[in-house]
Symmetry: C2
Subunit: 483 residues, 2 copies
């Protein structure tokens, strides 16, 4: 058969190898020298236009493509690799993780199932996560894209397990009893997204009020559960927040665990970043009770500084977890040997069947540093938040907007003679100017109606001096061109 067969592989590998070595030097060089560059740069219009080009019909030299990547993509990144990025909740990444991702793409294994090394690595990291969270090693777990998926998986298991009928077969259609979930008003929007996706309807997610520390009001929660039971509904899940996204508030997880036990309700913890406080001995008391949860969602690409993606969900009842997702049609049947052998497949514990090998970089990083060091740097971030909080309080130009309970500092600049509306507008603009200056990148917040600046420290590269620089940069901008 004469086919004149083609491949995506080069005939001569030398030029590709050269570009790869250049990428290593360029990207590690960038990482080593982050502090001397801007946190973030706005993409100019001519670069924006470059990305309008239509589908390429013919190929181009890799060297040209690499030059475009370095010139038009790399400089206009989100900026979360920088020591002074504190926006939303993002981690940084590491040089070792970059190597891990290169190897991941090189071996390109499908972590969904089968008898292969990725399954062994992922199972080991999941066991490590259980140890980190005070969970039994009999729990099941899964790497997922992030906290949103982790919450979805946890709440899906809760739904299927707590329904009084065969949820997979019958669904929610035609049922008269309603399943009701509970969380504080400060709960992350991904929980609402999960409830909606699972077909339960946002109106069946009860958002409970909070105290002055933005923690769920336990009394109000208990009353809501009672009211729903009296109305014939099924309270099926309480979502506790281990670190709210806005202020870093920690719900009283032990109290929630107690209620769930008494009321026979599934206890899910959204610990996207806050759950990782469990790694630091000095902070572990903040998440006391989390180990009693039925499921925990957290992201190692947040407060363990991994690059995307390294989300994780743990479920204490492995059988319930598997029972929610497992499907083994003929073409996925397991065998007693060969490639289709091995223990239960990860694809039976979540939505995805083909899965990339995200556990590798985490495995490499945890081994390189040991978990104690991660605990120290997590604690360091909390001490940095306290440091910044004190700087803000000590400075009459600034006002703290919420108590600093974890790694988040919400504050605003006070401009003499401004009313609340003007202060909101001023701080809104001030933040944008600060980001545009490239000096630091917090994100915005609104706390009790006051718009301000939110510094969320999930950054292994930040130093205390970076927070001094933040306040002086803000003051300079506030006193200067921002009007």
């Amino acid at each position: 058969m004469n086919m004149n067969e083609e491949t995506l592989d080069p005939v001569d590998w030398a030029p590709l190898r050269a570009v790869a070595h250049t990428a290593v030097d360029d990207l590690l060089g960038l990482t080593e020298n982050l502090r001397s560059g801007p946190v973030w740069k706005s993409m100019p219009e001519d670069v924006q236009k470059f990305f309008q080009q239509s589908l390429p019909q013919e190929g181009e030299a890799l060297e040209k493509i690499y030059a475009d990547v370095m010139e038009k993509i790399v400089p206009y990144r989100t900026g979360n690799i920088h020591p002074r990025f504190w926006g939303w909740v993002m981690g940084n990444g590491s040089g070792t993780a970059m190597i891990g991702e290169f190897i991941k793409a090189g071996i390109n294994l499908n972590a969904g199932g089968g008898f292969q090394s990725g399954a062994f690595v992922e199972r080991q990291v999941i066991r490590w996560c259980c140890q980190m969270m005070g969970y039994p090693e009999t729990a099941s777990g899964l790497f997922v894209g992030g906290g949103s998926m982790a919450n979805l998986v946890g709440i899906a298991v809760a739904r299927n397990q707590m329904a009084q009928w065969n949820m997979r077969q019958e669904g929610l259609q035609g049922e008269n009893k309603k399943l009701i979930a509970y969380a504080s008003r400060e709960v992350h929007s991904s929980v609402q997204k999960a409830i909606e996706l699972l077909g339960m309807g946002n109106e069946n997610l009860r958002l409970i009020g909070t105290d002055s520390f933005f923690r769920i009001n336990i009394e109000e929660l208990s009353k809501a559960i009672l009211r729903d039971r009296n109305n014939g509904h099924i309270p099926f899940c309480i979502i506790g927040c281990a670190g709210t996204v806005n202020t870093g508030a920690m719900d009283d997880l032990a109290a929630l665990a107690e209620i769930c036990k008494e009321e026979k309700i599934w206890f899910h913890v959204d610990g996207a970043f806050g759950a990782l406080a469990a790694i630091a001995p000095e902070l572990r008391h903040l998440v006391a009770g989390m180990e009693q949860a039925d499921s925990i969602a957290f992201d190692m690409h947040k407060w363990m500084y991994m690059p995307y993606a390294a989300g994780c969900v743990l479920v204490k009842n492995a059988a319930a977890h598997r029972h929610t997702f497992s499907l083994t049609p003929t073409y996925l049947s397991h065998a007693e040997g060969g490639l289709a052998g091995g223990e239960s497949w990860f694809s039976e514990f979540g939505i995805e069947l083909s899965r990339s090998f995200e556990a590798l970089k985490v495995w490499m990083n945890i081994r390189e540093h040991g978990i104690k060091k991660f605990g120290r740097i997590i604690h360091q971030n909390v001490r940095q938040a306290q440091y910044l909080g004190k700087l803000v309080e000590a400075n009459p130009d600034f006002e703290l907007l919420a108590p600093v309970t974890l790694n988040i500092v919400c504050f605003r600049y006070l401009k003499n003679g401004s009313n609340e509306k003007q202060l909101n507008e001023f701080n809104h603009k001030l933040l944008i100017r600060l980001q545009q200056s490239g000096k630091a990148a917090p994100s915005n917040t609104i706390v009790n109606g006051k718009e301000g600046i939110r510094v969320c420290i999930t950054n292994h590269r930040s130093k205390s001096e970076d927070f001094d620089l933040l306040l002086s940069a803000l003051r300079e901008l506030a006193e200067g061109q921002v009007t």
Copy 2:
């Protein structure tokens, strides 16, 4: 403030840089020389035990960790990078994609939202995908983990759009009318998973019979829709298969589009690999009608040979897509400038909020080769399947189990004097032996009750000689130790 601050970054970057360069040479070397090694190797027990070690407390040298990766992880991969891997539906990856993944981890941008280069690249690749699929560029799209997620997103939009009430607010709870979905019996299990997850219940997914080519029976489908309407239900979605996983069958997508138009039903195409036939001019007729679909799911990590993950979903009605997922709480509010600027965020079009920058490797590869070359290699895979099909038919030791309509060949070895049960057992063992030999890695199949060997060619590295080798290896094993 004296904190004695730590970081995950090394003090001296030289050793890390050295490991990175070694990884480039090792992994590109592996890729260049794949053909000389086994497709797959079973992990020995002592290596399995290595992954039992508990959570490391203290760190280790990166060189040691790298050595473990090369010795204990890399050799025991799934094997889908190899020219003779044809199991399930997996792609291979490429050297350029490895560089892309290294850069991705280096800049570690969050592709979920904000004003950053990743959004420009992903939007551009989505537009390219629209061109590839014959879709208008006004369609919306999203990179996802894989076909399962892509199906989930498409069917979720269908559910919310076709319900006669506010699905996000009310959900399916307490509704009397039932939403019903339709697909052929050959549909991928991820569709069932999506239906279950969305709360609709597997019993509300009608599995329709197929013809001798394993294509959905249109008449039976029409009758089922009519029956459901007469029973007061709401037929909301037909899922067409563009390439079934078992045999590569293509539903008559034009006929399905016609029914959906007449009946006002959402038309979703699961084209996990088969949709990519649209890229090859010689194969495009096979997916005629796909361009009329309301949503299409496909994976560039399958028949576009990208490494994991490069799943994609396109939705023709961008507003319906966004309306299903968009949530913008305070902490995700968009701004008129700075990092929170930019067009609508990808997090508003799917489940995930933090998202890794998977589009980069695809962007680099499409530019490097041009889409025409991808079309040629996809067509090459189909011609290879036809070649193998003919080899099988020409050989009395083998029997073809299904027509070769795309890139999948299902066949079995015939052993003289065996009954059907014995043949099933024999072929089951034969496949495992073949995988264990390291010579080739197809997966198993059961077609009309007959167990056999399934060769799915989504491999840019396969040559026609590899299929000669496959049959001779099977014959050798069959005549030898397999009893």
